[in-house]
Amino acid sequence: MLEIKNISKTFGDRQVLYNISGSFEPGQTSLIIGGSGTGKSVLLKCMIGLVKPDSGEVLYDGRNFLADNEEEQKTIRREMGVLFQGSALFDSKTVLENVRFPLDMLTDMSSSEKNDRAQICLQRVGLEGAGDRMPSEISGGMKKRVGIARAIVLNPKYLFCDEPNSGLDPLTSIKIDQLIKEITDEYQITTVVITHDMNSMLEIGEKIMFLYKGKKLWEGNSDTIVHSSVSELNDFIYANKLLREMEK
């Protein structure tokens, strides 16, 4: 289980996170939602160690990730997979090399074992024939899928996805959401997804945390979100005309 306790973060004189706490269960897809600039990505970066919070704790199965123990941090990092907003594939490497990269750097597997494992992951995301292509030769949706394959290649216990649907058409977005959900169920991963996509919330939101101006205002799931009495959340989810009509 992943827990965050009282995470606060300030950049200069601007506080972006105020005492955020919450827990995320294995085998469950947890969503952190909110408008642009509410601190979702900063919270994610605090959770994966790219940004150090001013205060608070991030506990991976009880292990404090922010304590100054480099070996412990390394061990925890190896249990994480991260899908970045822009996929963050290495331009100079092929799709297969990108997926293989964590194995090359962190394991003592033989070359053929690494290739086999990378191929299995590519197959899992439906890209078995794309291994030799360069990231510049594939579409945005395929890049996301390669990013997911790279994130799961080390069999992570925790999967973090930063806006996996950004820049994708609705159909591809749903496919990516379903893939994340299937992988979470299949490997019993603790998955945290940052999103502001309504379809994702309704499709895969087993647990949802709503951030507003750096504060956690609401927590629930895809069934309870539509009945919330938090006005900021309602403004957020019923932002478009169609949903406002449906609410009425």
């Binding site: 790219l50 190896r78 994480m80 991260v82 970045f84 594939l89 750097m105």
Partner: protein, 242 residues
């Protein structure tokens, strides 16, 4: 001043928490091709013409009939080895290699590729920058030696084709009063310049934030700062070693 402090902290991160040596071997070889082999053409063109121009202009300035003609090649040789080959080659490489390093790392930064390395526990500065620094320090001396040969050859071709000097005088001048330390000095300079160009450019690119505009600015700053650092180091090394 804060940038200078951050630069030295950045240098410290290159040598701490490194990956296994085997990881770096292939990366260094790839960078040697990128920094060294792919710079041979531009270095050859620039150094050949600089040698030719030095020969022609030296002859133009030697108006006294009392000065023997072989002095032209002595001047071409010494100015090439002591200054033109290492410094001009490094300035050219600051433009070509420096902007490439800053642009590449800046793009990796803004597209989260550096974050992707950090997240799996890799020291991204060491993994990405150290091979470039090692490759630059290996390849710059070789490029400077090549530049030195081609510059002297350029002077020979220009001098003999333009009837400024005979081949015999030119060769005699090259051999006259040669001090081998000047070659050692040129190689020391090239290694120092390589380190400065690679690390300053990498620092600029690695710390780029924002978008395409900032990456472009980082490349420009990298080239400007590298050139200033090369010229300052050139002066210091001349004071210290000559």
């Amino acid at each position: 001043m804060s940038h200078i402090g951050k630069y030295f902290i950045f240098l410290g991160t290159l040598f701490t928490n490194r990956e296994k040596a085997g990881v770096y071997y292939r990366l260094v070889m790839d960078e040697c091709i990128s920094i060294g082999i792919r710079s041979v053409f531009i270095v050859s063109i620039v150094s050949t013409f600089i040698g030719a121009v030095t020969c022609v202009q030296t002859a133009y300035n030697l108006v006294s009939p009392l000065v023997p003609l072989y002095i032209i090649s002595v001047i071409v040789r010494d100015s090439t080895i002591l200054e033109l080959a290492p410094t001009i080659t490094s300035i050219v490489l600051a433009g070509k290699v420096g902007s490439n390093i800053a642009g590449q790392l800046g793009t990796m930064r803004i597209t989260e590729q550096i974050d992707a390395l950090e997240v799996i526990g890799i020291n991204s500065s060491s993994y990405l920058v150290l091979p470039k620094v090692i490759a630059a320090m290996l390849m710059f001396p070789l490029l400077v030696i090549l530049a030195g040969f081609l510059s002297i050859w350029g002077g020979y071709v220009a001098g003999t084709l333009a009837d400024i000097i005979t081949p015999q005088d030119y060769i005699f001048g090259l051999r006259s009063g040669f001090n081998s330390f000047s070659v050692t000095f040129a190689i020391i300079k090239s290694v120092v310049f390589a380190f400065l160009i690679a690390t300053i450019s990498a620092y600029q690119g690695y710390n780029a934030r924002g978008g395409a505009l900032e990456v472009g600015n980082a490349s420009t700053t990298a080239v400007t700062n590298s050139c200033i650092a090369v010229l300052a180091a050139d002066f210091l090394l001349a004071q210290l070693l000559l």
